[in-house]
Structure formats: C-alpha cells, structure tokens
Symmetry: C2
Subunit: 162 residues, 2 copies
C-alpha cells in the first residue's frame, strides 16, 4: 500500500522557473474514472507507469504505482484511454526542504498551471513558496481526471458565454 498525501496550489507568475532543477514531459490518460477511484496510464519522457488510485479523502488517497513497458503505455494511451489525454510539462522545484512539482498544461488544458507537493503525513506543516496562490487541494475541478471530462479551455469559454 501507498498513501498519497498531497496539497495543490495555483501559481503566481514565473519566479518558480529560475529555481526549477529538472523538467519532464508527461502524456497521460485514464483507462477508467469511477466512483471507487481511477486507473491512470502515464508516459513520463520514455518511461511507462500504471497507477491505481482509490477515492480521495481530504488530502489522502490509496495509490498503487507500477512501471510498465513503454510500448504498453503508449498503446493504452492510443487505444484505451478516455479522450482528451492530459499533456503537461512537469518542473521539479525544491523549496523549504520539499520537492514541489509545477505542472504546466498544454493541449486542451493550456493556460492551467498548478503546483503540487507531496507530504509524509496529513497536517504536516509546510513553508509556502512566494509563487503559489490559492490552495485547490480537494477541489475536484483540478483533479486530472476532471480535466479530461472538463478541460481548462472549456472553463474559460463558459465564463465568456455568461
């Protein structure tokens, strides 16, 4: 078992970029998005990863992650995963003794940029970087599985329509 405990924030400006130590391109999709959890396939540069996530309870969820052959991951993304796929560049940014991940989305979620940090325990005290804004932990609109069903580009067009 692994328990995933993470917090998620919106981003202010680009100051995080100078502190970024690495970046990778993620192409990911969901084989299923259900009430029990999600099954995610990821291509991280040239690595394939299959992840089963349980239901979210606050900032905590059960998570099982396995490396799989890159050809399997690519084929599942092409043949099985729900459309649209999620595509984003992930930048690793060390801050306050923790490793923050800044995700810059492209494709149908272009314009969205969020920072995530993984914690060792719920309620753990953390120092917030100056470049993070509002916390969106637990806001279902920002789940990657929600960004498949309602990509960020459609949030804006709905606002314009009003």
């Amino acid at each position: 078992m692994a328990l995933e405990i993470e917090r998620k924030f919106l981003i202010h400006g680009m100051d995080w970029k100078n502190a970024a130590t690495s970046c990778s391109f993620l192409r990911q999709g969901f084989v299923s998005i259900g009430s029990i959890g999600v099954v995610r396939v990821r291509l991280i540069d040239d690595q394939g990863v299959l992840t089963i996530k349980g239901p979210t309870r606050g900032a905590v969820r059960l998570e099982y992650e396995y490396e799989i052959p890159v050809e399997d991951a690519a084929e599942m993304l092409d043949e099985l995963c729900i459309r649209p796929l999620i595509e984003k560049t992930r930048h690793c940014v060390p801050f306050g003794g923790l490793l923050w991940e800044v995700d810059v989305f492209v494709g149908e979620n272009e314009g969205l940029c969020v920072a995530e940090v993984e914690l060792e325990q719920e309620g753990q005290q953390i120092e917030l970087p100056p470049w993070v804004g509002a916390e969106v932990t637990g806001d279902p609109r920002y789940y990657n599985s929600s960004l498949v069903r309602k990509p960020f580009s459609r949030w804006r067009s709905e606002k314009t329509d009003r």
Copy 2:
C-alpha cells in the same frame, strides 16, 4: 500489446476432473468495469496480478497483464474492488493439444462451471472435449465482470420467481 483470443463453454458432468493436471484458487475483483474495458486484480494462490482488458470484439480483446506484489493485490481486493468478489477454483485440463481451464465458481457464483481455452488466432480449428456443452463465447452474462453485477445465484432466483 497482447491480444487475448479465447472461447468459453459450459460443462457437462465431471469427466474433466480425471484429466486435470493442476488446480489453483483464484480470488479476483474489478477496480473498474467500464465501456472501454475492465481493470482486474487477481490473487492466484500467492501471486498478485493486475490486468487491463480492452473492449471485447468477438473472441478477441486487448489485454495487458502485470505481476504485482501480493500485498497490493490483497489490499486492492479488500479496499477498492467492486462487490462481490469472484472466487473460483481453476483446474488445468490438457485436451487435443490445448490447455483448457475449467473454472468452478464458489461464493455468490456457486453452481457455475465453465471451460475456457485460449487460441493463437481467431477462427483456429479446435477439437472439443466430450465434457463441454453449449458455447458461451461472447455471451455477456458469463463475463466475470457481469458475474459481479449479476452473480449466478441470482440468475436462478429470478427463474424461480417467474
């Protein structure tokens, strides 16, 4: 990629049992059952297996299978999988140059017994053992995912109700 090509039959009597060369106990569940496919977790004796299956087209479907830690499989079965779980004893029965698998269900599917044989290609000629009855390949009632939603024990009670 793996393409799974298999045919499934009902069983007549117990003559298959004398020819069975091995048997194992399977406890399995589904993390998701969707229109795109299913995500299955299996405990086969003391081995854990995670399987992603695409949609069925005739006797063929995309299938990806990975061995996972037995503790993960047990926990996913306990915590994440849709109820009821499927429990069955699988007997391996060589016949006509092929390996037949005879599944004897217990629990909520007790009374159901089916034989499956995996083929190398669709349309492959096979010799049928004398102990198989009607073919049920492609009959969705006999999918293991259907046996979760509508276990065999409930088929009989519905017949009795009429």
